[in-house]
């Protein structure tokens, strides 16, 4: 058995950095409606964060702690996007027609709620799922 390499600095930095990255990616996702950001970028940032975890700790550890099937996540994301598109048809709109409105919600005050966010969640999930699927299957490949 090979001795474990001593990556104390990398481990410690990653533990903190990944929290920052994930927080930032969520912020990017929510900012998307009015400021630079959105589902695609938010998803990719999250994906990059997970890849960083993969690089720092080994794949088995991450799989144990983040038991997510990324293929299913990607499929679910695409499904969600298509369904939100179809959802507008239920209300007599065209396919993929999005709606938004302003509501008064406690704590947040006057807030805009848009169906496009749901669509964007689908995009984000599809991006994270696909990116991790590709990267993890390439890295696990034994030549």
């Amino acid at each position: 058995m090979k001795p474990k390499p001593n990556d104390v600095i990398l481990h410690t930095v990653t533990k903190i950095a990944s929290i920052i990255i994930f927080t930032f990616s969520i912020d990017l996702f929510w900012a998307g409606h009015h400021y630079p950001g959105g589902g695609f970028i938010g998803g990719l940032t999250t994906g990059a964060g997970i890849v960083l975890l993969y690089l720092t700790f080994d794949i088995e550890t991450i799989k144990k702690n983040l038991p997510i099937d990324y293929k299913k996540m990607a499929a679910f994301g695409v499904l969600l996007s298509v369904l939100t598109g179809a959802g507008s048809m239920v209300f007599g709109g065209a396919f993929l027609e999005q709606a938004f409105g302003y509501f008064n919600i406690p704590i947040f005050g006057r807030t805009e709620l848009a169906t496009a966010v749901l669509f964007d969640v689908g995009v984000a999930l599809a991006v994270i799922g696909t990116a991790i699927t590709i990267i993890s299957s390439i890295s696990e490949d034994r030549m």
Partner: protein, 806 residues
Amino acid sequence: MSFLHFIILVPFIAAFLVPFIYKKWNVKVHTGWFVFFIPLFIFINLLRKLPKVSNGETIFSSMPWIPMLGINFDIYMDGLALMFALIISGIGSLVVIYSIFYMSKEREALHNFYIYLLMFMGAMLGVVLSDNILVLYAFWELTSVSSFLLIAYWYERKGSRYGALKAMLITVFGGFAMLAGLIMLTMATDTYSLREMIGNVSLIRDSTLFIPAMVLLLLGAFTKSAQFPFSIWLPDAMEAPTPVSAYLHSATMVKAGLYLIARMTPIFSGSAVWFWIVSGIGIITLIYGSVRAVRQTDLKALLAFSTISQLGLIMSLLGVGSAALHFGIANQQEVYAGAIFAALFHLFNHSTFKGALFMVVGIIDHEAGTRDIRRLGGLMSIMPITFSIALIGSFSMAGLPPFNGFLSKEMFFTGMLNASQVNVFGLEFLTIAFPVIAWIASVFTFIYCLVLVMRPFLGSFHPEKLPKEKVHEAPAGMLVPPVILASLVVLIFFFPNVLAKYILNPALVSVIPSMSLDQTAVEIKAWHGWNMELFMTLGVVAAGLLLFLSIRKWNLAFRFYPEKLSLNYLYNAGLEKMEQKSVSMTNRYMTGSIRHYLIYIFVFLSAVLAASIILFDAAAFNFSDDAPISIYDAGILAALVIAALTTLLTNNRITAIVSLGAVGYLVVMLFVILRAPDLALTQMVVETATTALFLLCFYHLPKLGKRLEKIKFKLMNLLVSISVGIVVTILTLTASGHKLFQPITSFFENAYELAGAKNIVNAILVDFRGFDTMLEISVLLIAGIGVFTLIKLESKGSDIDETKTE
């Protein structure tokens, strides 16, 4: 959407429900009992339209599908369409009952079977009821697809797969030809509607596309109806379960070609080419099928060749009857219309007696375990009812009274005798061949009908040759459908004029629009006096009996026929050669080296772009609107160039990866300076992810040593990369140099009002162009799954070679 649309769609809707029904009730209740109500429902509802249509009325209803292109789901029901629809749903109901007893609910994948069957039923109804040619074409191909699935139903058998593929290749080839023909008709008449085309016949007649369109359409019809030389797929299609053979490959689908010919008769007939091709191919098929049928030892193969032969008979009648629409013989119109009438009559009769015969063969196969006539014999006493049905069916097919085949066979002889008088199409000396060939073919038909009755049912019973221990009569449910068909065979003989009045005459008017219902009132009589036709029938019986008794002597003569001249050999050899050639062609450029593929892509890209830029004289440069280049821009650009060159020239892979990353991040900086934060963010994250990916693969990649490629290869790469660079630069400069269109910015500027978003880019992504995004993430998912399957499943599947397991 009208009720008729609903009728076409019912089978498809039912097909969706079948899996659930199967899952819930299978083994307890045979799924077929549920399916049975679908064709029955359709049949009853179509019968209700019968009084209206038999009065000469037609029903039209439209449903917009792609109205912008003039493609609508239009339904047009006239006599011809109704006749076919009744056959489809009527035989369909009987076949489903039959299949309930034929297909074991314990062993068979019934849900698959009934889904395919319902799919076929709906498609076939669509073919005969559609007025729009593109809708017709779509349904036409769907019948080919469902036929493929049904033939390959027992897909673990090699023969099934071979037969299915053969049927698919031949009928789809014909289908494509037909599509081209239909489009040509549209080019001539500027409409997609069959009715309007028939209304504008003169436009088609004067068009230069008349002959090409006709030939292409005929290819479609001939392949579908298994006409010579495309007939080879039908015998192999007999690998399908017998209910399928009875339904698709004798009663309905193979008649789609005849339907098309009948439908197109008002457009094309009257021309000599049409007359000669349709009647000529028909009569060749007739004799080819009947001669081949005599030699078969498998009962189903015998029936397959007999079907080919009978289809040829109907085809030749349609060809001869097309003379009715020629102006030169307007006074004799009714004489030739008689041939069309005979065609429709025989088509209907064939569906009854051949359906019954297929079911009989299915019963023999089911109860005795074999269809080989060399092993069968003496079944008469064991299966008396089956024997009676077989007798009725075969004698009807042979053209004997008192069965419906006799009536239509006599009319067929009349038609062929009239054909010998046709003198308006040239080649008069050939017309005499029609009655002669028709007679010879009928003799062979008589012989194989005798074989069909005598060999399995008479003679001595040899239980030791049969795979099954106890041979007994089929269960009642299996006998009911063929008994119904057999009684129809007899009933039509005694009351032919009822059928003529309600179904055949209205159908005849659809084929020959210039006739009215009163003119078509032909009385069908069994007894015409001692005329030529009767003598021909008597001659057939006499010669047929003689030849049947001496069959062992002359049958040997066929052995000398060389195998290499057979159509099947041609098909197999052609397919094999085609595969070999494609493989060697593909191997020549698919080298497996990514470098080669990249060269193809880049050479193609730069060649196409450069050619179009030169051809349209598109290059235009306009620097007047350009923003001034700041010191930052220049600095970043210089760094970009240095980083790119480092990537190219370094001998260390780590350096290459890092410098490539530097290129990406420098572009990010450029985006920031040019105030495109969304782009910059995306580029940055993508760059990070790619670099991470590179680092993951880094371990597997070979070392970048001294590059030892030949000078020639290096020069080639240099040339390609320089030309791509030049072309793309020119293209980019030209794109900003031209102002051909209104900028679309104004549309997105009010994103906040329309989409409630202050970020235009995001509004475009999720709202304005949401459809693009949806498809993009779908592509992303597909790519991800592709990578996953390529890597994960590669080693498992490679050692299983399907072809070698047989």
